[in-house]
Amino acid sequence: MPLINQHGEEVALSPTMALDPTESDIASVGNRSLITFAFDSSVDGKAFSAAALLRAEGYSGTLLGVGPVGLDRLAYGFRVGFDVLELTDAEWQLLQSHHLSPFPHHYQPQTRSNQPLKKSA
């Protein structure tokens, strides 16, 4: 399944074993350079808090989200601190043919800014 970065580009990455979001404080993360969180369903948002929490605690490695993330949750995922998120093949095709405009502004100063998800070159 395609893995997408916040510029809407496909990236190559080998997912590590998914960490349990409930246990994901910085003490248990150690010095891992890549952490993977799995979304259990298209309405599961637990990993959004896990990512935000790790970033709040200073984690600077790569955060990968796998599972049913969904096109419409990409922006949320990137804003809370994910670097790479998984899409289905169909979603990836749709993303390549659509330009999903990000919101021009947001109210949460502590989160990352929206990035335009551009068509892949």
Partner: protein, 544 residues
């Protein structure tokens, strides 16, 4: 009133475009139903029994005249000429066509309105005291705090997919007119010797299938730290709340499972560990928001009100004192015979909008009891206002009386309901049609829910009515003694459920007993406290 800045407006317009695009993908079959459902719900769009229902946000229950006028236009153009005000201070349109919803959202955006986060597993519209800004003992206009929460929670990327819906209520007075103890989070703002403004935080209240009163989790927190504390509460909930069973997914279940002490410890740990200085609320922000809500009325001389008996009755029942001398807040009851509670026609919306422009600084409030308020009316205008309201069936002087009942849409509209609610509200009007009798009975809250999801808030009613299904037929359970203000309490079940036609006779027996056995100055709810549910059960079911 708070006015949108360019960022607010750009966000609302972006959401209109985004939702239209999502709707197109759904209709084209490229967005699966399971993915579209949370997107439409977070935009207030339900698939109901007869047609899609759109719930439009009325942040902190405050509307401007031009906004209500536009809602009237939407009701007329896209619905069946009326709207329904809800117990969370919002308005619903029950008869929209699915494909027209993006167009309606576009219409709303032109008047700084939207349907964002009026449903779904996210932070919902924050509710507050419908008399905010008009009462004398406020620490701050609570709408300032609500607006801060609105901005902070709108499209919050971390909290858009919570285990379940999340409702916040705010008050800034000792008297609780927003039922903060039955919300996921309740906030009471107060003045503080050290912090200037501080707040107490309640967590874990709620109605629905598992009604619980909230716990006062923390007290005397500086108000400028509100967003950091809310982030801590929601982060703990989002990480640890159950997602395996939607009936066990509200924060109240988590708080009870963890225990209040452990939950408090977890929240405090998150607050201390994840504290973000960018979430601190500046004095300037508070001041700017306070200025935007200020009504700037000048005191007026007050003369004793004289007038017809009808005027005196309306004045006593449907108007409340204002903090500025010479002004009153005027309640418009939406509980009239032949009309579902909270329903208003497009024509009536336009009339209220015009009257707000003429008499109330163009401001209207919506209440948890599904009524409207013109908050800033000069005492000298009251007679003229009453005449105008009376001409449009908007002057029913039953505020707080037995016929001022709350009812959810029930089986007539809702796909979740077990039993009709609206027919009972109508029967209540018929049984207690004599206004003198209603006044004699005194303050009495009747609330009707068509199922255990409790949208009619029956748990916190003096007399609560819950529709249940029994062998395919609607039956009703009665609870007594609930209340949502000081000393909030959940009603106690009176006895076995009764069929539809037995509900009003049972209530009539209860009321007759109250009228014959009450002590001097004793309200119905105090009477229930004194005599107890067991005693009243014997009387209520005596001839059943």
């Amino acid at each position: 009133m708070y006015q949108y800045n360019s960022i607010d407006q750009a966000i609302v317009e972006a959401r209109v475009s985004q939702f239209a695009e999502q709707m197109n993908r759904y209709l084209a079959g490229t967005l699966p139903e399971e993915q579209f459902m949370p997107l439409r719900l977070q935009n207030g769009l339900y698939i109901q029994r007869h047609a899609p229902m759109l719930r439009v946000a009325i942040p902190y229950g405050t509307l401007a005249g031009y906004q209500l006028r536009h809602l009237a236009q939407i009701a007329r153009q896209y619905d069946r000429g009326y709207g329904h005000f809800t117990t969370r201070q919002n308005i619903q349109f029950n008869w929209l066509a699915l494909e027209q919803v993006p167009e309606v959202l576009g219409e709303l955006a032109t008047v700084q309105m939207h349907a964002i986060q009026t449903s779904g597993a996210c932070v919902r519209n924050t509710t507050t005291d419908p008399l905010a800004g008009t009462v004398p003992d406020e620490a701050i206009d609570p709408r300032v705090v609500c607006e801060l929460i609105r901005q902070w929670s709108t499209f919050h990327p971390e909290f858009a997919y919570l285990p379940r819906k999340f409702k916040i209520a705010v008050v800034a007075t000792e008297e609780d007119r927003a039922a903060i103890e039955v919300h996921d989070v309740g906030i009471r703002v107060k003045t503080h010797a050290i912090h200037g403004l501080a707040f107490d935080l309640w967590v874990g209240g709620g109605l629905g299938r598992t009604p619980l009163l909230g716990h006062r989790l923390l007290a005397d927190l500086p108000l400028d730290e509100l967003r950091n504390w809310l982030t801590a509460v929601l982060r703990v909930y989002n990480l640890a709340g159950r997602r395996d069973n939607k009936y066990k997914a509200r924060i109240k279940i988590l708080v009870n499972a963890m225990g209040v002490e452990a939950f408090r410890e977890a929240v405090t740990h998150r607050y201390l560990t994840d504290h973000d200085s960018e979430l601190k609320i500046s004095t300037k922000t508070l001041q700017d928001l306070s200025d935007s809500f200020a009504c700037n009325l000048q005191p007026q001389p007050v003369e004793a009100q004289t007038g017809t008996t009808a005027f005196q009755r309306w004045y006593l029942q449907n108007t409340k004192p204002h903090r500025i001398m010479g002004y009153r807040s005027v309640f418009i009851s939406l509980k009239r015979p032949g009309t579902a509670p909270g329903d208003v026609t497009a024509e009536q919306m336009e009339i209220v909008a015009d009257l707000a422009d003429q008499f109330s600084r163009s401001e209207i409030r919506t209440t948890h009891d599904q009524n409207l308020i013109l908050p800033h009316v000069a005492e000298t205008d009251l007679q003229e206002l009453l005449q105008a309201l009376s001409a449009h069936d908007l002057a029913h002087p039953n505020l707080g009386l037995i016929s001022d009942s709350i009812a959810c849409p029930g089986l007539d509209f809702c796909s979740l309901a077990n039993a009709p609610s609206l027919s009972l509200a109508e029967a209540l009007h018929e049984t207690f049609s004599d206004l003198d009798e209603q006044v004699d009975i005194g303050p009495l809250e009747v609330k009707i829910s068509g199922c255990m999801n409790a949208c009619g808030h029956h748990h916190i009613a003096h007399i609560g009515i819950l529709g249940v299904e029994k062998k395919g037929q609607p039956w009703y359970q009665i609870t007594l003694g609930g209340r949502d203000q000081q000393g909030a309490a959940l009603g106690k079940r009176l006895g076995p459920a009764v069929p539809h036609d037995d509900v009003l006779p049972l209530i009539k027996r209860l009321i007759d007993t109250y009228l014959s056995e009450r002590q001097r100055g004793e309200y119905f709810v105090g009477f229930v406290d004194r005599l107890g549910v067991d005693y009243l059960k014997e009387i209520s079911y005596a001839t059943h």
